[in-house]
Structure formats: structure tokens, C-alpha cells
Symmetry: C2
Subunit: 178 residues, 2 copies
């Protein structure tokens, strides 16, 4: 529960924008407990990012696999991104804040990405076999594109775009797969 609270704070304010006091208050534990349990602010951030990636990855894959038809799974995943986009994405935040300057962040994100990419790639090949996604496209490139589209939608949402616009973004992005 404490870690989930930390995730929320980091999502909203980033690493630099979050102070130890903000964390102590949001997590509902004493400052000393925070340092005893998580080491320091940076390791807490890494733990938060890792947990966020796991939760977010599972939710992605769940949406992806629920519908029987593969292309509907892709659509469901996109809809989920749109629905959840009001809350900032910690992964996007970490990339924008640190770029490649922190190898630990890169590793944590890469590990989560590998699993997600595999799941999306499989579903895309399935959809191609169903005739719902063009066979002109290389599955790996489509995976990259979808993940980049998610990031674009999340940035748009963070910039204040309303749900109608976000839905249009998701719809338009999926046209590229046709």
C-alpha cells in the first residue's frame, strides 16, 4: 500500500518534483520507516517504477487477451490506454525525465517492455492471419508503433486533451494497421 501511494506521487510529480516529505505524508509511514524499508529516495523510485511496470503490463496483457478475436484485443488495449490516460504514466515520465542518463531506469523499462512486446507481437500475427491487420506490415514495427502511439496519447492527455480527442487519437492510430 505504501509503495502504491509512492507510485501515485511519482506519477504526478516525477522524481525531482517529489520531496521526501511528500512521500512520507502520502505513504502514511514514518520517515524513518521509509528509509529503513526502501533505502533512499532513488531506490524507492526504482521500486515504484518496477511495480508500476508490472501492474501496467499485466493490465495491458489482460485487455489484449480478453476478446477472442485478436484485432479486438488490440482495440481493447488501446481503449484501456485512453481510459486510463488521465493519470500520468510513470514509464513515460521516467523516460522524459531521465532519457538514457540512468541505466537502472532503462533496465527496468526494458525488462517490462520485452514481455509486453512479445504479447502484442503474438496478437498482431494472429490478427494478420485473421485478415484484420495488413500483411504488408512487419509485426515488430507495428508493436513499436502501438507503444509509441500509447506514449503520444498519454502526452496529449497530460497536456490537457479531453476524452473525445483521446478516443479519436486511438481510433486514428488503429487505422494504420488496416
Amino acid at each position: 500500500m505504501a509503495l502504491d501511494a509512492a507510485i501515485d506521487v511519482f506519477r504526478e510529480h516525477g522524481f525531482d518534483g517529489t520531496s521526501a516529505d511528500m512521500l512520507v505524508e502520502a505513504m502514511g509511514i514514518g520517515r524513518q520507516s521509509l528509509y529503513n524499508t526502501f533505502g533512499d529516495k532513488w531506490r524507492l523510485y526504482q521500486a515504484a517504477l518496477q511495480r508500476y511496470n508490472i501492474l501496467e503490463g499485466h493490465a495491458h496483457v489482460a485487455a489484449l487477451r480478453t476478446p477472442t478475436r485478436a484485432v479486438d484485443g488490440l482495440r481493447a488495449m488501446m481503449e484501456r490506454v485512453v481510459d486510463e490516460a488521465r493519470k500520468p504514466c510513470l514509464g513515460v515520465g521516467a523516460i522524459c525525465e531521465f532519457g538514457n542518463s540512468k541505466p537502472e531506469v532503462g533496465k527496468i523499462n526494458a525488462a517490462a517492455d520485452r514481455i509486453l512486446r512479445a504479447a502484442i507481437g503474438a496478437r498482431i500475427r494472429e490478427a494478420q492471419a485473421d485478415g484484420d491487420v495488413s500483411t504488408d506490415l512487419q509485426p515488430d514495427e507495428v508493436v513499436d508503433f502501438l507503444i509509441a502511439a500509447f506514449a503520444g496519447i498519454r502526452v496529449a492527455a497530460r497536456g490537457g486533451a479531453d476524452v473525445i480527442r483521446l478516443e479519436a487519437l486511438g481510433r486514428t492510430a488503429l487505422r494504420a494497421l488496416r
Copy 2:
């Protein structure tokens, strides 16, 4: 020149990640001159963002208008984004760092967006008349989609994606207009 140097620092490290000392060194002026000329760090950031938006907007529009055929203009704009994506975008950085919490940032970005959106929208309608962009699409939605695609590409680049991947992202995004 000093402001351009400040832009470079803010692009790379964001607002919170940039210290006054970093700015003084990069801008090549005395600290006192910095405060005399720009007021404080926050106003300097606003000035940097505003200038960045103007330069970036002009470059976008120039690429957009150079080719005679409208769809080639859209492609040229996309290629420019891919080529320049190695350097972080200050606009994306500002949105990710602040969200909607700083109205000044929102205003500065909104003013730049209005001009850019109008230019892209006009070119899209032109391309629709040429038969190069589907008339099923609403021009405004395509504008939103392209700008979101730019953000997605820039986030991917910031995360370490190589040029080949970024080019594929641009190519795939443009498929959605067909």
C-alpha cells in the same frame, strides 16, 4: 545566443533538473547578468520555451510547405521530426514535467500549437483534395493524430530507439492517413 544555450540545457535536463550554475556556465554570462536580464529561473524557462516553440514551429511549417504536393509536405515534416528526434523536445518535456499545473506553460504551448495546427490542417485538406489523404478522416483529428505521433516518436527517441525504428514509426503513422 545565451537564450539558445539555456534552451539546450532545459531540453536535456528539464526545469527541476537544471541548476542556476548549469545555466550560468552554458549561457556564458555572469550569474548577475542572468538575473538582471531574465528575472529568475522560472521566467528564463518560460522565455526559453517560448523561443523554442517559435523556432520549432517555423521549422515545422517550412518543411510542411516546401514540397509542392501536400502529402509530400506532411512526409517532409514527419522526416524532420525523425531526424531531429535525437535531441529532446522542450515542449514534450514541459508537458511531462508540469502537466496542467503551470498555466503559463499551457498558454505558451497553446499559442504555438494554434499556429502549427492551422498550417497542418490546411495542408491536410489540400492532400484530401489531391486524393492522397482519405476523405473519411476529419482534418482536425488528423492534425491531433500527427502531433501525438510526433510526441510518441520523441518519447521513443528519448528512450533510446535508433533511427531505423524512428523512421519505421513515422512511416507507419502516415499509413493511418491513407
